[in-house]
Symmetry: C2
Subunit: 473 residues, 2 copies
């Protein structure tokens, strides 16, 4: 498999006929380079597409797919390029289909509590638009300000609110998609239940563009939650912080919206990058950020007083309450800009993304600490502790050359991913597999990957859709 | 396809070796008959299995599956037999695998908020057990008192609480399953997020035993909701009732847990059957039952006062508030025992299960009314109005003979199902397809069924697992 043809002049001519002259990038190296990598680190993980095409609708995508299928040219779909696993990198060249022009919110249906969106809509824009109508899209990922809704569905993105709301797939009622055959098929839609055959919406979510290309997305909406409160909770040790995740989940009396973990090194770098100072940052080894939602101030107060007392009695150094936007933003800034903060000091930093059952967080954190010591590599960690999803970010030792670091950092991240799987977790909780994590996926889910391959062949017998992602055929 | 071998004596001997003498039923017609039908109506839709086997664990199931695969004997998995679409009916004979002895709750993991259950646990028992620890399984179907959790997952069962909590699949974190190859594979588990390849948990949920047999189920738990209140709301016309579904969803300020619809004919039959009288039952043409959850009495009061006022101002005849168990049970009795109530007066009644976008409820109700008039058949309707899932139940005209009624009632239900799909819904919202709805599924989802067939072949190349369900190969 994976023997593809090169893009030729007549192929490009056909693409231009389909989408128009200006929606095709060809033979312009600088312009093509913008489509050669994602946030996983262009320095290591980039590959130039032969041609980029920017369709506007399902019909054009269908024609492109048929054209590429006939010509045996590989297709790599691309959202905002904010992925962290290389899913949008065209590792076999060929065509990149960029969804950037399919950026319309087609409908906000208040009666059915559904929004219909094109895949290239920035998720944050969607959130804002529905908020204007007092509605809420709860599949909110952390990268909401840049990522596209289509990419969120393709990776089944997570974020901080999964403990309460579940990940992206929980909020997708349907998709319209172009299959590798060129056929456009609607799966699901505005109905809220469906027990009529295999659930392809949920199969396609998280399939990272290897089975189909989304052209419309039906998003579930709920009433906008009332009010939120954020607690910033410093701890003397990471052990204390990690032990208190369960306390934060249980003692407020309601499920928190988020329980985020961030360690001292991350905070220190974040403070510099964001030009802020967090309380206790000299003495605290780790923090939790705990968020609750409630219908009223009074209700929230009851919740955070309970949770706060419990956290203090279980070893928190203090509990800082932010119940307004300004204070809340200060708390979240360091966590939200975590990766940018580290990258400002080490452009070579890769990000891991592993998930474990929440009870196993202490073990995976211990493992990372020991690995850091043994390897002589600093590994700041932050993550969505409420759902066991952690992001270790090994930093290049100053004296190591970038080429050697690529291999060494991959080795470190692979070890952490394998350990997470061993603890009952998985090698990715929210970023996806792309091509960077193929090895560890194959190692931890051999039986499952074998079924994935067979499934892939059913959908895409020529293997032209995002080849080399998730697994090799 | 579907050319199967008959069960022979040596096959039965092998089964007895695997599960023990007493866990096999063979050549005992009366005992076999108990496994020949489900709640879809044994009088029409039954077929005798050749042999019934009651395994105790995954290893036995794996051996049975391998044995049946080698012998080309079809396997029909069976939970509680409470299905309404014939999914558990062994229409090609062969082996029925009954999960009745796999009835242990293996673990309630309070730290990870996960229960691990065998498939043959009665869902209601699971709910009670976790409630003892102040936890809640939110994938609660209406048939909770009889159905098995394994069957709930197999049909992706719905219920009344989908508007707030989603259907079964939203609450399943993982399954262990025996594949048609005999291999036992774990998909998912105690981790709460996973973006590592195709999501087989969600593909297997709702696949009605055609792809794999569940041997363990990992169920998501949440803190037990505080308090509930139920509103019984009579309306002068079905139009008024249906129009007020949106009012009930929006005007309380929080999502209701349930908005149920029940029409006059259903109420009348239900009153007789349950020996109760509902207020306004002589003058009301339809009712909504609206349920809210809240942390405190005060919060709930605010919610139901708002919702109640809005409902009255939109045409409700009155709003009866039940905020204690006794009153609440009275309200729900008629709705919960709806089908039993009708069956007491017409043993030939079949139940439909269609879903539409909630905005289309008026149209599907109108359609049913007109169809009722045109066909001269009474069609009481109840359903989960909050998610557009309605159950029409055509009643046999007294002068029609049962054989003619089978065809006539199927024709009526098919028409309603096709109309639901045309309105943007689906031919089943929660009961599944079984074999009774194959026709309408094929008609409304031709492209999707074609992919389903291909997928089925990947998992089950010999087609021995629940053959003839969902589609014909």
């Amino acid at each position: 498999m994976n023997e593809f043809e090169k893009v030729g002049v007549s192929f490009v001519k056909d693409l231009r006929r389909i989408v128009g002259e200006r929606a095709v990038i060809y033979e312009d190296r600088e312009a093509l380079e913008a489509y050669s990598s994602d946030e996983s680190g262009g320095v290591y993980y980039s590959h130039l597409p032969e041609v980029v095409v920017k369709p506007e609708n399902a019909k054009q995508i269908s024609e492109i797919v048929k054209l590429a299928g006939d010509a045996r040219v590989p297709i790599t779909p691309r959202g905002a390029g904010s992925g962290l696993a290389g899913g949008a990198v065209p590792i076999y060249g060929g065509v990149v289909i960029s969804f950037e022009r399919m950026n319309k919110i087609l409908e906000i249906d208040e009666e059915n509590l559904v929004a219909v969106s094109e895949p290239g809509v920035v998720t944050n824009d969607l959130c804002k638009k529905v908020a204007e109508r007092n509605l809420y899209y709860a599949g909110y990922p952390m990268s909401v300000e840049t990522s596209f809704i289509g990419g969120n569905v393709a990776t089944n993105a997570g974020g901080s609110k999964v403990i309460k709301y579940g990940n992206t797939v929980h909020h997708i009622l349907g998709v319209e998609a172009v299959l590798p055959s060129g056929e456009t098929v609607r799966f699901g839609g505005k109905r809220r239940k469906d027990s009529s055959g295999y659930d392809f919406v949920r199969l396609l979510a998280g399939s990272e563009g290897t089975l189909a290309l989304f052209t419309k997305i039906f998003v579930n909406l709920i009433p906008l939650p009332g009010k939120t409160v954020d607690l910033l909770v410093p701890f003397k040790s990471t052990e204390d912080a990690v032990r208190n995740v369960a306390v934060a989940i249980k003692e407020g009396g309601v499920l928190p919206t988020a329980v985020e973990f961030i360690d001292k090194l991350s905070v220190k770098l974040g403070e510099k990058y964001n030009n802020v100072v967090l309380p206790f940052s000299d003495t605290a080894e780790a923090y939790l950020i705990v968020q609750f939602e409630g219908k009223s101030r009074e209700e929230l107060e009851k919740i955070y007083v309970n949770a706060g007392k419990a956290l203090i009695s279980h070893g928190a150094m203090n509990v800082f309450v932010a119940d307004n936007r300004t204070n809340s933003d200060k708390i979240w800034k360091v966590r939200r800009n975590w990766l940018e903060g580290i990258k400002a000091f080490d452009p070579y930093v890769p990000t891991g993304d592993v998930v474990v059952p929440t009870s196993e967080i202490p073990k995976i954190i211990d493992f990372i600490k020991i690995l850091s010591k043994e390897s002589g590599v600093k590994i700041p960690v932050a993550g969505h502790a409420a759902d066991g999803n952690l992001h270790p970010a090994p930093m290049k030792p100053e004296d190591m050359n970038p080429a050697a670091w690529k291999d060494y950092s991959e080795e470190i991240l692979d070890k952490i991913a394998l350990k997470a799987a061993e603890l009952g977790g998985a090698v990715s909780g929210e970023h996806g597999i792309g091509f960077i994590k193929k090895r560890v996926l194959a190692e931890t889910k051999p039986a499952q990957v074998s079924i994935m391959r067979s499934l892939k062949r059913v959908f895409d017998p020529n293997g032209i859709l995002n080849p080399g992602k998730l697994f090799d055929l």
